[in-house]
């Protein structure tokens, strides 16, 4: 991709050779300095296909977040402005009883008290979210695999209440489930194994790990997870969110420093807050920002006393599910080693989804799992189960077994779920005697590349890394959020749409999660419908038109040419 100086905000490590000699780490914003861009444009076309950054990256790291077109941004603000004004009008009408008021209000005799319901804080919910509420919380009535059945509902009072029509929309293509390897199904070896264990062990454990809830199944699972990740030991917990929020306080405390990415998940942020450590936030995936924070931390120490920090912990995720970006792990590890800090990697979305054998982002970059101090992940996404794990050195895991709240107080994993994890993990590793796991991982990688390429060719703005199975498609305007969700459901495709305030105000998006269970035919159907809806709603904002490839086979070294 030859980046132009005006439009695209491609963040790629495009180093001139001088920086390699110093060992300095950079990720270049080509837009910022035209001189560097001109000088390295010639060089970058040569180093385009080979290793960059002095050998830290063994494969090209292609991540792009195309900038919002200015006209679209202005129209988005107009949209929000109109909605706000109408919201005020409707609130006025509701207040004076001209319009029926559906939400909770205080009784007449309590009107002069301090208000029970914060009316202004529900402004957004009342006036914007309610209008398009039918795009979320859709009840499903089948297993959410590649296709799912959705119960049809409609509303007579503009989404304030729903009624079921009794119909079921069958075989809706499911682009919303985190079903990366396709294990969300109710047939097959996993289901039979889980059913057998259910009969043998029962449904629940009714105790925490420390009391009487430590089954041999848990021990087997933990050994398997440790072997899968390539670490010394691992521990499994009942809930992925609780894994983060209860284990981070166990490993850091007051007097420690946490450097957390801007877009980290709620569980990481909660865990960091509960620990009592000082938290500093670096810009998303930006290694210069991280390095600056590390330098300042080491040079200045703690805020008033200037004592050195007890521990510095870097919190990153493998794949960020809202942006579809992959962490720059080689650079993070290089920084971690240089400044002697610790790394906590949350692989909730990347375990099973990245890497030639599905071992996650560490394998994707070809790095050593022992470089990551704490490897955390969840079984919810790629393994079709529930729960989370932490992997690392044996001393760390032994410490967590006694000091982590999840281990001591929370109920342990339920046996059928454990068996599902064991069976699916063995399948991914190839130990069940079939090739199924390897095929799934490869199918996912092919689907990812294909889907992203086709969407880019059509002209949509797609965020994130080329290899990430999470594909955010930018919608920008508030009305298009509702329109996109509804139009896709009309065409039998279920998608997840997200808007403000979960995303920045102008960056509302539709998020597709690809799965190994999606066949090429399913993806082609989905792409055709997305193309139609994109034309109908004018979503093709991208100003970089890709030259469509003709009949090139899937292989790791295929790159597209861009026309500006």
């Amino acid at each position: 991709m030859r980046p132009g100086p005006g439009g695209c905000c491609c963040r790629r490590p495009a180093l001139p050779n001088g920086c390699v000699a110093n060992g300095e780490l950079r990720n270049g914003y080509v837009r910022s300095s035209p001189a560097v861009a001109a000088a390295s444009a010639a060089a970058s076309s040569q180093i385009h296909h080979v290793t960059q950054n002095g050998g830290l990256y063994k494969r090209p790291f292609n991540e792009a977040f195309e900038e919002t077109p200015m006209l679209v941004a202005v129209l988005t603000y107009v949209g929000y402005g109109v909605l706000t004004l109408f919201g005020y009008l409707r609130d006025f009408l509701r207040h004076w009883r001209i319009e029926k008021c559906h939400h909770a209000t205080e009784r007449e005799e309590q009107k002069d008290f301090v208000s029970l319901y914060q009316d202004f804080e529900n402004f957004y919910t009342r006036n914007l979210y309610m209008r398009i509420r039918d795009n979320w919380n859709r009840p499903i009535c089948s297993v959410p695999g590649a296709k799912v059945d959705i119960m049809e509902r409609h509303s007579h009072d503009y989404n304030w209440s729903f009624k079921y029509t009794g119909n079921i929309i069958k075989d809706v293509i499911n682009m919303g489930s985190y079903n990366y390897l396709g294990f969300a199904k109710n047939t097959g070896t996993c289901k039979e194994a889980a059913a057998r264990v259910l009969e043998e062990y029962g449904a629940g454990v009714c105790s925490s790990r420390q009391e009487i809830g430590n089954l041999d199944k848990h021990e087997e699972l933990e050994k398997l997870v440790a072997r899968f990740l390539g670490v010394e030991a691992a521990m499994a917990y009942g809930m992925g969110f609780a894994t983060n929020s209860m284990n981070i306080p166990a490993i850091v405390g007051k007097g420690c420093l946490i450097l957390s990415d801007e877009l980290n998940h709620a569980s990481l942020v909660l865990g960091a807050r509960l620990s009592g450590a000082t938290i500093r936030i670096f810009k998303h995936n930006n290694m210069q920002s991280l390095e600056k924070l590390l330098k300042d931390a080491i040079v200045y120490g703690q805020p008033r006393t200037r004592r050195p920090w007890k521990k510095i912990l870097i919190l990153v995720e493998g794949i960020y599910s809202m942006e579809g970006s992959i962490v720059r792990l080689p650079e993070v590890i290089a920084l971690k080693k240089k400044y002697k800090s610790y790394l906590y990697l949350d692989e909730a979305h990347s375990i099973g989804a990245l890497g030639p054998t599905g071992r996650g982002v560490v394998e994707y970059f070809g790095l050593n799992p022992e470089d990551v101090d704490v490897m955390m992940g969840t079984f919810t996404k790629s393994f079709g189960a529930a729960g989370g794990y932490i992997g690392g050195r044996k001393e760390l895991i032994d410490y967590l077994r006694t000091h982590s709240h999840s281990a001591v107080y929370a109920t342990s994993l339920s046996p059928p779920v454990v068996e599902q994890i064991i069976t699916s993990m063995k399948c991914v590793m190839g130990e069940d005697g079939t090739n199924l796991g390897k095929e799934c991982v490869q199918q996912l990688a092919e689907n990812t590349r294909y889907f992203r390429r086709r969407l880019k060719e059509m002209g949509f703005i797609i965020y994130g890394n080329e290899d990430s199975p999470v594909v955010p498609l930018m919608l920008y305007m508030p009305a298009k959020i509702g329109a996109f969700g509804r139009e896709m459901l009309k065409r039998n495709i279920g998608v997840v749409v997200v808007g403000f305030p979960a995303t920045p105000i102008i960056e509302s998006r539709a998020r597709f999660c690809l799965s190994a269970a999606h066949t090429k035919e399913i993806l082609d159907t989905a792409l055709k419908e997305i193309n139609e809806v994109g034309d109908l709603l004018q979503l093709k904002y991208s100003r970089h038109r890709l030259v469509p490839l003709l009949d090139r086979p899937f292989d790791e070294t295929t790159y597209e040419e861009t026309e500006d």
Binding site: E67, T68, M70, A73, V74, T76, Y77, V78, G81, T84, Q118, F120, E121, N122, F123, Y124, T125, I258, S260, E262, L263, N264, A266, V269, L270, A272, R273, T278, I279, I281, K283, S321, M322, E323, V498, F500, P501, A502, T503, P504, I505, I506
Partner: protein
Amino acid sequence: MRRGVNRTAYEESWGWSHAWESCVLKQLFSSLRGTASESGSPRGGKMNVGTAHSEVNPNTRVMNSRGIWLSYVLAIGLLHVVLLSIPFVSVPVVWTLTNLIHNMGMYIFLHTVKGTPFETPDQGKARLLTHWEQMDYGVQFTASRKFLTITPIVLYFLTSFYTKYDQLHFILNTVSLMSVLIPKLPQLHGVRIFGINKY
């Protein structure tokens, strides 16, 4: 925080505001387009359930988003054009009306409406703060704050020119400008005079 009109405090506040104004003018052309995320505001991690980012209060970043300054200027232009298209209204009156309506709108939306239109995970720290006070978590002299201070002044200059410095128009426009500039002073951050708009 100073309240009321204490003589020494009043003089002190005027001395401060002179320094502030020269500071603004000095920094105006050198750093008008700085990004607000480098302002170094202290943001501790807080619990955010249901959001894709660790931004506690998205309201603080709205004025820094891409394209919002342009949208704001275009909105003023649209208001002006709509007023110009009313028949039997002369150009000076239209300009004064633009100025007055713009300042009234700015006062209502930036300095009267308090809190956020959505629930924030910080248990309502910003409930009693107006949008101006929430901007950039209270850090003063950021790029957006400077822009929103300069725009009414520029509009005032244009209005004074087009009304040919007529006395009545001058009085109305100046009072309106003061009503929109004074709440923006850093000394009045969080100040509620006579308890107006306190809760």
